[in-house]
Amino acid sequence: MIDLNTLTILNARKSLDAKEYSAVDLAQAYLDEIAKKNTELNVYLEVYDDVLTQAAAADARIAQGESCPLLGIPLAIKDNILIQGKKVSAASKILENYVASYDATVITKLKAQGAVFLGRVNMDEFAMGGSTENSAYGVTKNPHDTGRVAGGSSGGSAVAVAANMALGALGSDTGGSVRQPAAFCGVVGCKPTYGAVSRSGLMAMGSSLDIIGPIGKTVEDTEIIFDAIRGQDVLDGTTISQSSSFKTQSSSFKIGVPWDVVNQEGVDGAIKENFTQAIKKLEASGCEIVDVSLPNIGLSLAVYYILMPAEVSSNLARFDGVKYGLHVDGKDLLEDYLLTRGTGFGPEVRRRILLGTYVLSSGYYDAYYGKAQVARNVLQREFADAFRTVDIIVTPTAPMPAWKIGEKGDPLSAYLADIFTVTANIVGIPALSVPSGFVDVDGKKLPLGIQFMAPHGGESVLFDIGKKFFGE
């Protein structure tokens, strides 16, 4: 028996290389766990039928003495990342039976390493949401309290790792979609620097914000997956070359805390308490803590909910019932479009498309989109200034623990949960959510997370402070 509870990518690698068990044994252990839990938690939309074949191919490579970090490691893939020949739906009815025409670049890289793909996991439709309640295929449950949401939009990816239904996972993060579910489920999630990971083969949501990010049980595991998927790619012109200029000062960090943001109204008392403890812990471990001022950070959420829907309305224009995906037949071509998009997209996707159409329409463009672009530049400058005096900026990952399924009925109240995470996407900097303890709610222990942010290209600093904080 492989003890999945204590298993990490790092020690699975050692066991696989030492032939203590095979990649097939490991994959089978995860398939068994998925079979036990998936009906209740609703994590996998599909478990692939070739998992053991993939694992056997990894075993053949291991037998030849090959070793690379993810060879034979079973991973869960968010349902918006393309694997050629496999269904991929973005948890939407409009792509229910769509089969990917090509591999995403991250998949090509993971295949080269010999990673084993267990299946595609649930998410908010087209990554729009923070709870997976917007999936067309039902909500994913939080393993710490099945009456609560897993977070989102990469809820399936976070639960897969938290509930031992995968050893690691890929998610995507446009405004917190990797970090917030990681915090809600007690695992580690990384949103890399904008452009650090290719988005070729990731279904586009907000193209100036989107990035693929890894989720793991430990900071080290998360770093291993990040190292495997990062890098410049000719298929994504926004990718950047790997910067090696970052010096790591693993002994002591200067950490900035924007206290006025953390202490604002709407942040749960338990979050403030947990965050204060986390800061004390960092201080005790030798970090220098200073207050940082980011005067316009309060505008982040407003900026995000203008830029993102604007980009959504443009990106999702491609779903027309002609090239691929759902087609609903009407009396003429116009009605084909109206019916296909009206019935294929769920309520939140329709809402964001209309909102984006509004902020981009003539007469409103300057007041909303134009102003948001300027605010984005201001925020980028404020962060650049702050990073001249500190190595890292830290906040809680989310302003509350996981909420009850169905609790946030109106969209705006759900959007407010993104208050700490959207800024990193607007500014383009990397951010890492690391578990920071638990809060007791209704007799259940709900995980919380702390978010570290570093300057562009500073992932290594995040992994260093993350390991230090998490005791790795």
Binding site: Y98, T357, D410, Y415
Partner: protein, 92 residues
């Protein structure tokens, strides 16, 4: 102030059919979201969008694959086709 007529206009521009019942809930949702995001108008700093860090990414204008290499895999995803064409209703 967003009206039901505004929602109809947006839905028509976005090519999305919205039911009468949903028009009203969309209207109130979008109105409250717009009220929230309108705070960008309070931005204290007077500045213009800075594009200095943005640059074009170009590649050589050369053929990178054989003609027809991806035709079948892409067309096989289409809801309706005729030979190597996507099939749509006539528009004239």
């Amino acid at each position: 102030m967003i009206t039901t007529a505004d929602i109809e206009k947006l839905a028509s521009l976005a090519r999305i059919q919205v039911s009468d019942e949903e028009k009203e809930s969309m209207r109130t949702d979008i109105e409250s979201i717009l009220a929230y995001v309108s705070q960008v108008k309070n931005l204290s700093v007077e500045t213009t969008a800075d594009l200095s860090s943005v640059h074009n990414v170009m590649r050589d204008d050369v053929v990178t694959h054989q003609s027809g290499e991806y035709t079948e895999i892409l067309l096989s995803a289409a809801p309706a086709r005729e030979g190597d064409y996507l099939k749509v209703k006539k528009i004239l």
